[in-house]
């Protein structure tokens, strides 16, 4: 690693005379080629970002409908009820959300939030925009594959959206699409789901290959592995997870497609009865097989959701504490360990399937082991705060809130990882609260932090600080109002996926044996539905300042004074603002690690990675250490 630095071809100045460079540098390539069918990683990153934010908002809207139905079972949805009936027909008759529609909303909320919202935003949007800049690359390795990746994602998203309007509505079998349920529901929603997923899987496959190849091949001279900003490491590991964990789901999707279309019995057991009738199938299949293949993706997917978010938080904490991140090497080895271990914990989602106690014990052990590197990562962030002169700007507030929120999500996962306590908590609101704490106030807060942090690089202006703070405090308070009570409900035994929030179930149990027996839900527990619903509404209101801020600040935000407004050390701030096609206007050569803040004796409190060693220091023997 030491001696190879000199062998790189010299940086080529941006020039226009390359015949095979179909993009050129002039602005005459037209609107379509510049903004719609662009091969520029920055434009693709922004495309991903805007599309994913729209899907996040849409997924949020589905959730509001579900919360209304849970809080007021059987009442028509106010204001938009008639609109729903017009758009969706029978499932929303008289503006009331039917159980079938509720199931669709649940399945699609999960699918959209995970596969169309957070992963594209955390991995594809930030990764596309920031990673090539951070490593000093001109673009991604395969720009046209990159464009195809976004298009596949877009088509996949469209298919998912269209499925709401087909007869019978969208998929109803949950985002996990467990067979045989997913095969026996007599509508075509599941078919759309599978085809949509195949597009999304292809998209993330192309993205993952591109990211890994870019990080391996296009690092600037001197950018050794241990000089990579930790955000790049997280994206690198995330890309590997996507590359290797998604294909088994694709295999499973192919088999479920065969079950649905060619009437095979991959996941359908012998003697399966549908609607009281013995199904006309050959049988012999295994429902557990679907669950294994699904969770082989499903659990690594959790780390796809969280690792890029941690990477963003790392950059912002280092930048705003003005000191090096604590334990860089521990962070690197931890993220590698998490990436590896994430492949061998999947069956902790399946303790209740009867797969056997020995298998449960194995997966319980690996699940406990994977919490170790996760805790190391979080601990490094906490220790990094110690003794820093912290700048409390909006990105930093979100990054700081990420730490305890993700902490709550992570720690409440431990009882779920032990198969004994999981028997009680499995499929209750407790698990809903747990993974939402990881993903909603966890990952999404980090993503907000990233938007506020890199916005000046994309537009040349800051986002409004005051409204940023309104957005932050509103989100922080109401996230907790929404999700904290769910822990209580879950521990009281309230199951997820009941379209009336457990009203009928409770009434039936309580009428038999009086209130508060095991299995029944007390009035106190049931009454929590109302504050959760209003908390969710207020959480929605708290996002309005953000949405306006994003668009308003493009024209009216405070202008940045130079290309490096946060006084950051990493390379993405060494470009013009916004970066032109080809990114850098001068040669990028890296001489130091990513977090050299407040180096004693240095004139400023930050030393950019491309700043050469001072001439008075010891004679240069090697450019890399």
């Amino acid at each position: 690693m030491e001696t190879t630095v000199q062998q790189f071809p010299p940086f080529r100045e941006a020039d226009d005379h390359h015949g095979h460079d179909e993009h050129g540098h002039h602005e005459d390539i037209g609107f379509l080629r510049s903004y719609v069918f662009s091969t520029d990683h920055k434009i693709i990153g922004i495309q991903y970002g805007l599309t994913a934010l729209c899907f996040l908002l849409f997924g949020f809207f589905l959730m509001i409908l579900m919360r209304w139905q849970i809080a007021h079972p059987g009442l028509p949805v106010p204001f938009i009820g008639s609109l729903l009936e017009k758009a969706l027909g029978q499932p929303a008759a008289k503006g009331v959300i039917s159980p079938e529609l509720y199931n669709s909303l649940g399945a699609m909320h999960g699918t959209i939030m995970v596969f169309l919202g957070i992963v594209p935003l955390a991995f594809a949007a930030f990764g596309n925009y920031v990673v090539p800049l951070m490593i000093g690359a001109v673009d991604m390795t395969f720009p046209r594959v990159n464009m195809a990746s976004y298009q596949a994602y877009f088509i996949g998203g469209l298919i998912m959206l269209v499925s709401f309007f087909i007869p019978g509505g969208a998929a109803q079998a949950g985002w996990t699409s467990y067979s045989p349920l997913a095969t026996t529901i007599p509508t075509h929603g599941q078919l759309f789901w599978i085809v949509g997923m195949v597009f999304l899987i292809s998209s993330s496959l192309m993205g993952a290959i591109n990211f890994i190849a870019t990080i391996i091949q296009l690092r600037a001279p001197g950018m050794t592995w241990m000089r990579l900003p930790w955000f790049v490491w997280t994206q690198f590991v995330t890309a590997f997870i996507l590359l290797l964990a998604f294909p088994p789901l694709e295999a499973a999707a192919v088999m479920q497609l065969m079950d649905n279309v060619a009437h095979t019995s991959f996941f359908l057991p012998t003697g399966l009865a549908v609607g009281g009738q013995l199904a006309n199938i050959s049988g012999g299949g295994s429902p557990l097989l679907w669950q294994h293949l699904f969770w082989f993706l499903g659990h690594p997917e959790v780390y796809v959701l969280i690792l890029p978010a941690m990477g963003i938080v790392c950059e912002i904490i280092a930048n705003n504490t003005r000191k090096p991140i604590w334990g860089y090497k521990s962070l690197v080895y931890s993220v590698l360990a998490v990436g590896f271990l994430s492949f061998i914990v999947w069956a902790h989602h399946m303790y209740l399937t009867g797969m056997g106690t020995k298998i449960s014990t194995f997966f319980q052990t690996t699940t406990m082991i994977i919490s170790i590197p996760s805790v190391i990562i979080l601990t490094c962030f906490f220790i990094s705060l110690w003794g820093g002169s912290i700048r409390f700007n909006t990105p930093m507030l979100f990054a700081l809130a990420f730490l305890p929120m993700f902490g709550i999500g992570g720690l409440t996962g431990l009882p779920l990882g032990f198969n004994v306590s999981d028997v009680h908590l499995h499929d209750t609101y407790y698990i809903i609260a747990h993974f939402h704490y990881v993903v909603a106030p966890g990952t999404i807060f980090a993503l907000f932090a990233g938007v506020y942090y890199w916005y000046p690089k994309m537009t040349g202006r800051f986002m409004n600080e005051f409204w940023g703070r309104v957005h932050f405090w509103g989100s922080l308070v109401f996230m907790n109002v929404v999700f904290m009570p769910m822990f209580v409900q879950g521990m009281a035994g309230m199951l997820r996926r009941m379209s009336d929030g457990g009203a009928n179930y409770s009434a039936a149990v309580n009428s038999r044996a009086g209130a508060d027996v095991i299995g029944g839900l007390s009035a106190n527990i049931m009454s929590l539905h109302t504050p959760i619903f209003w908390g969710a509404m207020c959480l929605g209101l708290a996002q309005i300042p953000f949405i306006i801020n994003v668009f308003w600040s493009i024209k009216h935000g405070e202008k940045i004074k130079n290309d490096n407004p946060w006084n950051s050390t990493t390379l993405e701030w060494q470009t013009p603002t916004p970066p032109p096609h080809g990114n850098f206007t001068r040669e990028m050569r890296v001489y130091r690690g990513p977090y050299e803040y407040s180096v004693p004796g240095h004139a400023t409190d930050f030393t950019p990675q491309n700043e050469p060693p001072e001439p008075l220091s010891a004679p240069r023997i090697s450019t890399a250490h």
């Binding site: 190849a213 295999a251 192919v254 019995s265 294994h292």
Partner: protein
Amino acid sequence: MDIPYTVQPRPDIGLYNAKLGIWLFLASEVMLFGGLFSAYILLRVGAAPGYWPHGWLNVWLGTLNTIILALSAITTLLAWVACKVGHFGKFKFFHACTLALALSFLCVKMYEYHDKWIHYEIKLNDGTFADGHMRENDPAKDYVKIEGRIVNDETLLYDLRSQGKIKMEELEIPRSKIVSMQNYGPWHNTFLAIYFTLTGLHALHIIGGSIVIGYLWGPGSKLWKKDPERFTNRIEVSGLFWHFVDLVWIFLFPVLYLT
């Protein structure tokens, strides 16, 4: 703007971009087929006793296809070598062979699929099973004609390997005796389901690879004049994919045909 290492390998990595890309893609392909192979294992160990088929596929045809793909791997390699040493004509010849071999593989596969498609298991109302290839199935007539046999025990239809040479004869079965009738499609049982899925996905890979190789052999070969090094890289990358597809078959053949 030039993206570095599109043709020359990066010195400290030793790979050019596309070669790294194809290796990563193949890693994901390993996981894709890995998922299906693990499905095969779970379905096989979960099958009811006596109901996992043995000897349903023609080993000779499988061997023939194995040889065809092995030959195509050799011609692919030779095509790349021909590019490396600058013999464009030889490249054309060898990759024409690759394409011809790919086509013959698909023909053999299609024959095998067809053979299963016209193979019927017929449940009769006296508790016996007629099994064989459909010869006449005219809805207007009140009988069907198959070339096959009638057995008392259904598991006899599953283990063909232990029965030695099975005598087939032309049978005329009146429709009134038929309880149910099903051909050996993917719906027939989980073995055929995984057989059609695995070999179908593999055949799709053969078709995809043939399209890419066909493009590089035909219109895509114009690049040879402009940038022979880059063209050679393309032949190498598409060749790597082709070798992977061959390798999948090396696993499919014993798993499906020989066990």
